[in-house]
Symmetry: C2
Subunit: 363 residues, 2 copies
Amino acid sequence: MAETGPSVFSEVELHTFCSDVFTMLGVPEEDALTAASVLVLSDLRGIDSHGVARLPAYVQMLQAGRINPRPNVRTIRETPSTATVDGDNGLGLVVGPQANRVAMEKAEQAGSGWVTVRNSNHYGIAGGYVMEAAERGLIGWSMTNTTRMVAPLFGAERMLGTNPIAVAFPAGEEPPVVIDMATTAAAFGKVEMARRKGEQIPPGWALGGDGLGTTDPVEMMASGALLPLGSTRELGGHKGYALAAMVDLLCGPLAGANWGPFTPAFTLQYADPTRSVGEGLGHLFGALQVEAFLDRDEFGRQVDDWIRTMRGTRPAPGTSGPLIPGDPERLAEADRRQNGIPLIGPVVQELEEVARQTGVSLR
Amino acid sequence: MAETGPSVFSEVELHTFCSDVFTMLGVPEEDALTAASVLVLSDLRGIDSHGVARLPAYVQMLQAGRINPRPNVRTIRETPSTATVDGDNGLGLVVGPQANRVAMEKAEQAGSGWVTVRNSNHYGIAGGYVMEAAERGLIGWSMTNTTRMVAPLFGAERMLGTNPIAVAFPAGEEPPVVIDMATTAAAFGKVEMARRKGEQIPPGWALGGDGLGTTDPVEMMASGALLPLGSTRELGGHKGYALAAMVDLLCGPLAGANWGPFTPAFTLQYADPTRSVGEGLGHLFGALQVEAFLDRDEFGRQVDDWIRTMRGTRPAPGTSGPLIPGDPERLAEADRRQNGIPLIGPVVQELEEVARQTGVSLR
């Protein structure tokens, strides 16, 4: 398929389009605005794979009745510093922000707040939740399990999701430190991109259907699996697998959600899991109140000093030196807020198809 | 130096030796027993680098007056689910277990417990603390920052420690899942072992003094640095760096301890940091009460199912299939409890030197 160059949209255009589409599909207006904000934030941060490019998949799931547009999200168990939230099969983009709020409120009251979520769906970028915590002066955590895509070390098939971990730390004068990472060697979006361009992928990213390493993105996507962070035993692949396991155990068994190979399919194209071991997809949100541990000002000064110290590291030859986690996304956000969000041709075409189906105009 | 074969010691022999040595150096008996237990557990679990092999370093530090043998470990700030503990420059092996207990008690009372520790020293294996939590039916976390040894991605010098993360999940009938991992591609002990054997190390483990990759363990140890998990940008080295940063920010700035390149030297051989930015070394202990989220029995059944499902993964060619995090250490422990703990010649010689200095007989 011939690809046209990117079209540039403003944040407002995309936000309005997404929220109008969600509303048209039965999502209450306030929830539709929230869900649109989560999606567009991803595009603003330069994480194109998790932004409006995913709207068509959410639309499909809503149209097929696989996601509940009007969930009754409720806390079904709680202690002073924890809660279990049932998302009532709502959009993860709606359930996630509500559950995250519970975690932040608990942290403000009891020092820390930890909230598991069951019966949810894909919740957008993990980093958005923890940025909200950092804006409130809290240290935030966010994790989710996801559709199976990753082989455990020494495994030959997809058993775990890309299971991201996000953590953010508020600073003083410096911008917050924002970590947002899949527990794989490389993001699935990079494999998709290589396929689109007809390029090979580096060794260490993926297995083929035979359980051996592959550099062919088509083979990975058809029958293979992503490798955990660390890639091989020698380079610590058991550690990436352990991190993915941690996320899965927290978001699955502890939350009462499905886990491992039984997590629900993200889109209608994927096969349904062979059995159900819980309700929907699961998340974990955590927050720590800084003042619970030491004075907020002192913490801010120390984090500023930490950031500046790391920036002052002697650079490796051929590099400009270490970045601070969150730097690339923050720079992308500054650029895109000013210059707009570029969308590649195929994404625009899919959004235009959504526009035709729903009667909401793209712009 | 010619090396003799390993000598085998019983758990009791090593525990008695270590606790007697600590007592001789002014550590109160109860603390000496605790510290010895932490060290010997590491040997039992097969993590030889963090066990009695480190006793000489602790002895040096105590003899030099660099560690306080009789610390007044106290909570200096707290909320229902958090605390900040000041270790009074005691042995990490003594401070760690006390602070971990505070975290577990908070979790039992408020659903979760999160405790930072400042003014401590190296605390042994991270995994021991979370195993204790799992035995109490809690999900446990443990992290510590450590002496600088690791370059951030795109850095050419040691700025962070190997900063381990440990997490354990209690199961039902199955043994607990125990994750205990440095946030580096490979453990420093493996580099030491390669040097001892005169072997090269694989690409992706380390940088030389010039900030470029090296396969020479001597160069890494003399002037280089370890690489974070993921090793290179292409394979996700920014993620390992981000994890090391997370541990450092929690155990340093949040705890009021030193951080990054300013963490205290582990032994007298290392140079002291150029400035002080906090007190001693820092740790973080966390615990979640399972019942706070769902019924303990249901959780146990799900974790058992999870473990068996992962064990049932189709194996990658040439492997026996995925392990569960903690498997290798559990098997080592079963073996060593029965057959004793083998110590290599150089370690025995160092312990004999400690025996001579302190007048405590090795056996």
